[in-house]
């Protein structure tokens, strides 16, 4: 048999040292999420829409020469025109200005409710999940019983009794609103606390609060963020619903719900008074929902291709 010297051979495929090489740039978790979120066209559209809505909520009321509570009885129920872009209402107030004033209130209510839910829910769910055992049982049963109370009925009741103010509305929404968040945080903490890095941290003598704030909560941030994004539209919906029942904020404050309620009797003759607030309620809820869905998909490791 003929001898073939070794130097006649040459490696054409992978070299041993190549297999160890990392060809893809390493991505942090959030970068990866961002890339996947960006691919979701609907979610990106929602985010842009949201940016526009927030921009208009901040600057919209200053774009006209009118004030949201400035009445002008000589110009009431005007159709949309160059003077009044969205027309005027039954007291001659500029609907454009009032719409963006209402956007401020709606978005404020949504964000405030989501933040309060976040604090209570993370504290309650985090403690229940981390302590486990009897504490967990007791805390979560408490949450179960509270969650049996029908949400909207409770909110209506509180608005009737405590008076129609922004504070009451936010309190009413958060009384049972935090339960969902606490359940999600508890589930996450239960899952995470048995992982090795938590054990390592414990062995190194880290205190409970440190483990919570450095390990458990940051690693649950994904589901928390999704829940928050989806709380905002439901709070905005509740505000509009209450306004529509006549339980919203009292005039001259402009909120989308009360504007829609005021516009309802005039629907036949002055449809724009209902049309504009109603459209923006839908757009805002839509934007938050789509962004929330996109975030959830982007955070879900099963969706990774």
């Amino acid at each position: 048999m003929m001898q073939i010297p070794n130097d006649k051979f040459k490696v054409v495929g992978t070299h041993l040292s190549d297999t160890e090489k990392i060809s893809k740039p390493s991505l942090s978790f959030w970068k990866d999420v961002f890339i996947r979120f960006r691919k979701n066209k609907l979610a990106v559209f929602g985010l842009i829409l949201l940016a526009i809505l927030i921009f208009m909520a901040i600057f919209g009321p200053y774009m006209t020469e009118y004030d949201y509570k400035m009445t002008d009885l000589t110009n009431k129920n005007q159709a949309p025109s160059a003077e009044h872009w969205f027309g005027t209402d039954d007291l001659g107030r500029d609907v454009f200005t009032r719409t963006w004033e209402g956007a401020r209130i709606s978005i404020f209510i949504g964000v405030a409710a989501a933040l309060i839910d976040l604090f209570i829910g993370v504290a309650w769910g985090g403690i229940a999940g981390y302590k486990g055992g009897r504490t967990d049982e007791l805390m979560m049963r408490g949450a179960d019983i509270l969650s049996g109370i029908p949400y909207l009925l409770l909110v209506i009741l509180l608005m009737v009794v405590l008076g129609q103010s922004l504070g009451t509305m936010i309190i009413a929404m958060t009384i049972t609103g935090w339960i969902n968040m606490s359940r999600i945080v508890r589930g996450q903490v239960l899952m995470l606390k048995s992982q090795e890095y938590v054990l390592a941290s414990k062995t190194l003598g880290a205190s409970t609060s440190r483990i919570m704030s450095k390990h458990l909560i940051p690693n649950s941030m994904g589901p928390i963020l999704v829940t928050m994004t989806l709380t905002v539209p439901s709070a905005i919906f509740t505000e509009a619903y209450l306004g529509f029942l006549g339980l919203g904020l009292t005039p001259p404050l402009a909120s989308w719900g009360t504007m829609a309620n005021d516009g309802l009797p005039a629907l036949r003759y002055y449809p724009w008074r209902l049309f504009f607030p109603a459209t923006f309620i839908c757009l805002t809820i839509f934007a938050f929902n789509v962004v929330g869905d996109g975030l959830r998909d982007a955070l879900d490791p099963r969706m990774r291709k």
Partner: protein, 311 residues
């Protein structure tokens, strides 16, 4: 199973007791007097009225009286309409709300499942995109806005449907659609994602390999499992339809219980608000309990005795 139901019943009773108690004390601290009117009442009449409605008793006695009344299903008189009791209002209004609610639930479930199944079978095709776009819209448009738009365009502008009131079947269509749109969208999305999950299973492949027709596979193999999550949604669906009906009945002028409830809120008719709140809470809690029990029976994989599901 019996242990689970017992446990759930206990929680339900505690929730109910909390609701009744909270309602009672909230109404106690509510500002204003139920008999407040333009004219000031002479003190004797005021005292008589208080005695008649038991308002002269100490609060703890009023509270126990109220609890007893709720247990015996007596929600007391209406403060505003002297000849009417809350029970009258409920027996007048609830049948109407019940029919409207059933119609809406039927629409939501039937069309929701239909759209969801179509979207899942035609994943990433135009049918999928169209139905899911409709679903996102349905979730984003609150029922009362849907109702006013339907009323404005279909009834006032085009005159296809009656504008309001509650007389014939035609009158029920628009309110039922408005009430059903949101839940329908939600069910469609739920059905789609669970259908997709089920369709990826091996037993579907087996069924295909056996040469079964795609209709049989979809209906008999895929849908049976895919519809389980939809059953769990029936509880929240009832809640949504119930609370949605307040505004819908207001918009369409339907004389249901929701309409009475909204009127009583505007009138600050405290006993009616209390009574209807408690009544609705009972209905909701019972509905959710029934759905959970039904779910346990339908899906033997769920172990009920272990307490909460999904853990």
């Amino acid at each position: 199973m019996a242990k689970y139901i017992g446990k759930r019943l206990l929680y339900m009773l505690i929730s109910l007791w909390l609701i009744v108690t909270a309602t009672f004390f909230l109404m106690k601290i509510a500002p204003g007097n139920p008999f407040a009117s333009e004219k000031k009442l002479p003190p004797e009449i005021q005292a008589n009225l208080n005695a008649h409605f038991g308002l002269d008793k100490p609060w703890y006695q009023q509270y126990t009286d109220y609890l007893m009344n709720v247990v015996t299903w007596d929600f007391g008189p209406s403060f505003k309409y002297k000849s009417q009791t809350v029970n009258d209002l409920i027996s007048d209004g609830f049948p109407v709300s019940f029919i409207l609610g059933l119609e809406a639930i039927f629409l939501a479930v039937a069309f929701g499942i239909l759209f969801g199944v179509i979207a899942a079978l035609k994943q990433n095709k135009w049918q999928d995109y169209t139905t899911m776009a409709i679903a996102v819209l349905g979730i984003s448009v609150p029922s009362f806005i849907m109702a006013t738009f339907l009323q404005y365009f279909l009834a006032i502008k085009l005159g296809v449907f009656p504008v309001a009131r509650w007389e014939s079947f035609m009158h029920t269509i628009l309110p039922a659609i408005a009430l059903a749109a949101g839940p329908m969208a939600y069910i469609a999305r739920l059905t789609r994602s669970s259908m997709l999950e089920v369709l990826a299973n091996d037993y579907i492949k087996t069924a295909k390999a056996k040469g079964l027709s795609s209709g049989v596979i979809t209906v008999k193999h895929a849908m049976r499992n895919a519809l389980l999550p939809v059953v769990t949604y029936l509880g929240p669906l009832t809640a949504g339809v119930l609370t949605g009906s307040f505004v819908i009945e207001k918009i369409f002028g339907i004389p249901g219980l929701g309409f009475h409830f909204v009127t009583s809120i505007t009138n600050r008719d405290y006993t009616v608000i209390m009574g209807v709140t408690v009544f609705y809470s009972i209905i909701l809690l019972v509905a959710i309990l029934l759905v959970d029990i039904a779910y346990g029976i339908i899906d033997p994989r769920i172990k009920l005795a272990g307490g909460k599901k999904g853990e």
